[in-house]
Symmetry: D2
Subunit: 291 residues, 4 copies
Amino acid sequence: MQVGFAGLGNMGFAMAANLVRAGHAVKAWNRSKEPVARLIALGGQAASSPAEAAQAEVLITMLADDASTRSILDEGGALAQLKPGAIHVCMATVSVAFAKEMTARHAEKGVGYIAAPVLGRVNVAEAGQLNILAAGDSGLIDRVQPLFDAMGQKTWRFGSQPERANAVKLAANFMLVSAIESMAEASAMVAGHGVAPADFLAMATSTAFAAPVYKIYGEAMVQERFEPAGFKLALGLKDIRLALEAAEAARAPMPFASTLKDNLLDGVAHGEGDLDLAALSRVAARRAGKG
Amino acid sequence: MQVGFAGLGNMGFAMAANLVRAGHAVKAWNRSKEPVARLIALGGQAASSPAEAAQAEVLITMLADDASTRSILDEGGALAQLKPGAIHVCMATVSVAFAKEMTARHAEKGVGYIAAPVLGRVNVAEAGQLNILAAGDSGLIDRVQPLFDAMGQKTWRFGSQPERANAVKLAANFMLVSAIESMAEASAMVAGHGVAPADFLAMATSTAFAAPVYKIYGEAMVQERFEPAGFKLALGLKDIRLALEAAEAARAPMPFASTLKDNLLDGVAHGEGDLDLAALSRVAARRAGKG
Amino acid sequence: MQVGFAGLGNMGFAMAANLVRAGHAVKAWNRSKEPVARLIALGGQAASSPAEAAQAEVLITMLADDASTRSILDEGGALAQLKPGAIHVCMATVSVAFAKEMTARHAEKGVGYIAAPVLGRVNVAEAGQLNILAAGDSGLIDRVQPLFDAMGQKTWRFGSQPERANAVKLAANFMLVSAIESMAEASAMVAGHGVAPADFLAMATSTAFAAPVYKIYGEAMVQERFEPAGFKLALGLKDIRLALEAAEAARAPMPFASTLKDNLLDGVAHGEGDLDLAALSRVAARRAGKG
Amino acid sequence: MQVGFAGLGNMGFAMAANLVRAGHAVKAWNRSKEPVARLIALGGQAASSPAEAAQAEVLITMLADDASTRSILDEGGALAQLKPGAIHVCMATVSVAFAKEMTARHAEKGVGYIAAPVLGRVNVAEAGQLNILAAGDSGLIDRVQPLFDAMGQKTWRFGSQPERANAVKLAANFMLVSAIESMAEASAMVAGHGVAPADFLAMATSTAFAAPVYKIYGEAMVQERFEPAGFKLALGLKDIRLALEAAEAARAPMPFASTLKDNLLDGVAHGEGDLDLAALSRVAARRAGKG
């Protein structure tokens, strides 16, 4: 399939590389040129602008947030270049409101819009084992399913309204950050009674909480290994903000999410925004006077 | 080993039965007599009072809370009957403060005190697969280790101060209730955007959150199957209260735990105290106007 | 002074009327025409569009929020019509981010921008007794001070960056909603012990809390008189959202504000958005099972 | 009237002194003897023990908390010495549960029990201008009303169940700490936008929040004058804990109180327990990275 791809960050590059390996014709654009060169080495092509990348059957965007996605669509000219019948698959973690707006703006031009954010860190993306959360017109999703199959182990469909996939992605990230915060608070509490958090977390993540999210972030907490960040605290703050916006639109109070925002903000205020989310343990320890 | 056992609730009975099956001489007391009869059928013996159960090498107590444990020790006469050199193993989920007090009171009498709360629901207890969280004098724990081996798959030791095991147990239960609350809030949010919580939770508990705690409570949430309760909401409230007390003693703010207490209280105020903890989904849905 | 005035809601009308009474030449625009007619009866003039209102020495805007203010400035043509040297005084409760953006956009055109949100309800505005929270270039504020003097009892200046006045206004409204929430929670608690909230609030608002904010909202709570709303719950939600956005920009966790957002959202989800903020008592009572 | 008085702290001394000045025969006990000597200088008498103080028509206790009140009643022998027909007026800020227990225990002995906690700081107590929150049998309150009139400006009655007065007192203290927290958070937010908290608070406490609680604590905040403490942060933590216990008994979620407990605990964990409650501003500033 002819695929334009905008956004070759760590995740985007791994995804685009898997598309190339699966035999798709991928023309990629990225702000910095180094990852584009690496993709060319694998058999991809370079697009000189987002607009050029958009001259394809399918445009996949994997940017950092609403603003950068909007930027390549509007200032970057991608939306203007998308042809009637083309499909834009937005795989970034963007807001529900953004997805609604984009669905409408693409529809006006006869362009399909699919939201397909992903679950999985970079190593999972590299292995083509992402879980893809897709929503949009089912016929359109059927058309891009071969692309999803090259990038992920499974596609989960959430109906015809694209923003639903974004709501689901934000809900999942909220659950992730909640799990981390629960380890952080629990560790601060047991530490206050003389139990090493490492001992507590070793037990907890081997028993009732023997899931990857607890193991990965629990180990980072214990080893205080917050760099390089697998998931930056500042990006966690962004996702929780978007989850709260989605909650407000749905009129659903989310007190855990509210607490998370305050604690992530506390971390950012202490210069921990570029650390891994596991550094929520620092916030909890600092509040307990063990900063 | 000669073992007295007080408290044959669902958990206690399963544990005592495994001791009997492993060949230990178990003399058991329970407020109601029916489970005692069942234990006798397996080869156990009846104690006519907590005091009689305490006339053993080792007394195991598995009562509901601080008050009921205190009751069998004081009014029930068990503490008075424990002989110097005997060991009392308190396996209930009691408070850190209670463990400290009991450690001192037993020591005055030359009786050993071990805290050994457990992780696992009834079916896990029946299978002898509990995780046992033990703290106390290591020589004493060595002595009762054969009993732990008959009841659990693994014993995790947290040092010589008994109350540390209670802090760890409360921290683990806090993490459990947090995981449930995160599913409840996430479900309310996605529902507000038209996604069925069942679809969301099926995905989440098969991917990043593929751990028993999420699967078990997530399924109960989806099926709205809150009775019979695996873990009653009102008991969850008790455990979170104890976690907060332990946190206050440790001067560790636990904002998630504070939120949990408010939400569990909301549930109890709405007559949901006897439902399973999964009914936190009702609290979240009700606040979102979908009560 | 030649004054254009956009936004004759209850507050705006009272303020514009006082300008007319003080002898200023006020040309007013409002979406519905009825209040314009009333102002003409007092000696004011009608502007057929926001753009016409903007053809004055000073343009005062008193709209509901960011979006409606933006609408009259952009689609309504007011910003385009403001002449170099003119001053736009935005007296609405808008966001800090909006104020920053507007400061820059006005400066590009050589137009002064002053933020001057107000404290006080409609009856205070009618009496010309508002407290005006002003920020912006001090020379510009000096020029419009006679207008402020006609509308308010005192002008409080917060420096040369306009958005500071908005931060102050949002902080004050946050304190107001916090005071109401504290009465709501306290009332639910004492009610659970058999004390009539009316008895409790009568005492509290006559002693330590003998301030207008407690008296006014406490009385509405006691009488369950939530309509007509002096300050709509849904507008309170908007203001708390803006306060939280300002807090995030300042990297300042505001856990009370986070809680308020959740509780106000709970109210809106239960159809209470058009009721007075005092209806936070309903949210607290409902959570306590007395809904 | 013959009055025994136990507890001559700053508040207790001022209250007992006013009883003496009003002509009552006051026999006082205090752990340290210095304030007893001062009271004798005013015309009072010394009791050598709580038990001796209890040999009076009316016993007034004004201790720090449940534990110290319990101590003088039980170990101190006061309860045993109270004669049938005597009245014990407990004016301390104790828990609702304690009041219920004491009501029953006094009734068993034919002794009346009145709860009468007070509102007002030391200078108010000295001036005899306290607000007294009384509950208990109305005939009994009538009998001690002359004593209340000597200590306070007004007695507010909350019915015949003594614990109701304690619930009211805790609710009022909760509102007080909430008001302080709202100033702390608001100040941290405006500071992040360049507004001096002093400027913000000067405005707020002169306008909508022109009540003593805001003025007193706001001024302490601005001047960072946290010692000597008018109301110690650690005592605020105690009162909020008691308010939360009362809320749990009433099944009333109090999310503001939960947040306060976490923030007060943060303060105590940072060695601020002996500072004035106004030091909540430090907690808020610290979390915003301005510690």
